[in-house]
Amino acid sequence: MDSSIVQRREEILAKKAKLAELKKQRELRKAESSQRQSLTGSPAREIVSPTPRRADERTRALDEYIDNILGESRPSSAQPQSPAGGRATRPTSVISASQLSSDNEAQSGPGAQYQVPLSMVDQGMQTLSLGNLTTVYETEGVDVGPPPKREKEVITYSKGVQADIEWSPRKPRGAGESESERDDSPTRSPHTPKRLSRRQKERDEEIRLQLKREIEEEIKAAQKAAEAGEVQTVSGENFPFKTLNNEELTAVENSDDFIDFVERSTKVLERALDQQLDYDILADYALGGANVDEEDEGYGSSGGKKGRRIKEIAQFWDDRWSKKRMVSDLGFSSKFPELVLASYTKNPSAPHDPDGLVQVWNLHMHDRPEYIFHAQSDILTAKFSPFHPNLIIGGAYSGQVLLWDTRAKSSPVQKTPLTGSGHTHPVYSIDIVGTQNANNIISASTDGVVCGWTVDMFSQPQEFLELTSPPPAKTDDMAVTCIAFPQSDPTYFLAGTEEGSIYPCHRYDRAGAKAGVDGRVKYGGHAAPVMSLDFHPAKGQIDLGDLVLSSSVDWSVKLWKVRPPAATGPSNTLAPGAAQQVAPLLDIAREDLVYDARWSPVKPSVFALVDGAGSLEVWDLNVDVEVPLQKVTPSENKRGALSGGMGYMKRSLNKLAWEKNEGRRVAVAGMDGVVTVFEVGSELGGVETKTEEWSGVKRLVGRLEGASEGVNGK
């Protein structure tokens, strides 16, 4: 501070000298201009005429200013007594600007540009801009002469402290704005006092900025003098570098702001990196030509084959979290089709990590999950809520139903209690049924308990239903492995069991049937636990919503036509007591355990399955009911090889999920914890479906029905 005062004083002395010189020059010029005035004609007179008066005043002002400085009587200079007090700010600023101008030219364009003309006004070209300037000063002296002076003084001294704000981006912008204001002002009437005071404020602002810059320059120069000359030149241009010591560094890095920022920015950066791998927008097809995409679909003679192609597009694995966990469920978000969630079982070798894990992967970010969610128990099933894009529900080995929110932290925002009122056995199947405004979470555990929950209340189930095996069975117990709801009816569902049968169940009592298992019908056929059940999505011209696909570890997939719940009544009266066994329409034997089978959400005849051998098969019932159209295995990645040790088992695929909006993508995952996403060709996915495809399935079902009835009849 002291040194800056000394510097300031030196500078003032310098200015004083300059002022004196200016004064001399001006007097000379005044004499000249009065001569010139007499020579020039009348048009110029109006502009020129203020000159003498202004020059007079200026001289007076300068005298007074110099007196002030000489007498060191700063307070008196701030007194409101004379217009000169206010005016005195001008010369200072002008001079400082001219002093600075060489620096400023190098520093910032806008500032320098307008300062140069200013200094020229005073030295040579009065004639053009004088008219304006004069009016300003008259009013200035009357209204608000004193304050600027005082302000200026105050600010002059406080600048040194604020030096490190200097290189913030707002400053150059500020200068630019005031410049534009200044350009405007001559076109408008300079006589409105409001306008003037505003303009004057802006000018003060400018002056302040200039002073600030000037002083900082001095301080910087003094500080950097000791250092190398090079560094000094760099510091001239808003050099944004400040060294942090270790403590500051830790403070910054531990701040929530920083952690938050890095979380977001690294995601964006990774997406940016991954995006450019897909397609380079700067590609120039005129060059090279070797990289032309040969996998363009739908064109050329072999289009038919190409439409059935399956291409692997992404594999997801996280070193930290995916290791030694198995994928227990998969699901695409319906709102954001690029997001896939995967739920995982525990990592037995990491007892301190949470057992349960859900990772949400983004197809545009390959190496890292978008979100990570935890739970205390292995997650066995999870899915995005179809009614709320932020919510994810899951079922845990502990019997809890959990709810996560992508806007919240990684632990569940809600979970059901571990008491007798809910599940006490592992929850392997969960679904959300109903409509946007009235929906329930339905969960099923292996002890046959089915509960209904609402998102708002997890403390107690809204519905509680215990499924029991119907009479012919030796025991009441029923081990439910999976449940499935038809599209059309949220009160009725199918339950697959460990023993291999599939039972229709009612959520509520209804005419002719009590809530629970409907013992009159049984879909028998599987000889081993049913691993999945899937109702036909039935979004097309013909209602195929009664078709169900089931997979089982008895190495088969079966196609069923389920009876509508109302039609079960009469058949019951015909054969009371005895459960009617319904045989599958179609029995497709596979070469391995089938863990999951799902209908395509768009193509009526297409479904996909995954098996214990690690293959994904895509079938089209219209094309072939005995051989899959396509069979692929996820690429052998290095992660799989690294974490090996389970050999054959390792490759087994547990789950599959279709992207629901377009049906172009299938995600599969299994024992090795790697999620693989495939894209299917236009014949197997995509929104356009032909009427023939629907009627084809209908005909096939009719044919199969006829055949099975024929068999039954005999």
Partner: protein, 138 residues
């Protein structure tokens, strides 16, 4: 934002290290917006003796020496301070552009492609994240 608030500094660091070691990434840089401090760098050297070595993370082994020579020859961007000041100037200019065109708008992302590199700059209210990486072979 899920799971953000629970993240520990170590995990944040791990993210940065992993990002800097992705294939093609030459260097990364995090600046503080308040005072221009360089919080983190990878793949860049500092030409100031006063710089804190702790702020520099290890870059990927294959690309680091490569990018260093590459950077020096092609772009001259071998010092963190240099990159920082140039990015700052670029960002300021971009900010002015946006503000001049659309009021009350701001820069969210800058991607700058050169013949050899791409700069991705993410300005935020408190920090600026800069990443320099190779462009994919044409």
């Amino acid at each position: 934002m899920g799971a953000v608030a629970e993240k520990s500094p170590e995990e944040t660091l791990a993210h940065l290290v992993r990002l800097s070691q992705k294939p093609g990434v030459q260097s990364t840089l995090i600046l503080s917006r308040d005072n221009g401090a360089i919080v983190r760098t990878t793949g860049l050297i500092s030409n100031s003796s006063s710089a804190n070595p702790n702020s520099t993370l290890p870059a990927s082994n294959e690309t680091a020496p490569d990018s260093y020579t590459n950077g020096k020859k092609d772009t001259g961007m071998n010092s963190a301070e240099d990159v920082a000041s140039k990015v700052w100037a670029f960002l300021t200019a971009a900010g002015n552009l946006v503000e001049g065109l659309y009021e009350e708008d701001e820069v969210k992302l800058l991607r700058l492609r050169t013949k050899k590199n791409e700069l991705v700059i993410i300005p935020d209210c408190k920090f600026i994240h800069v990443l320099v990486h190779d462009t994919p072979p044409a």
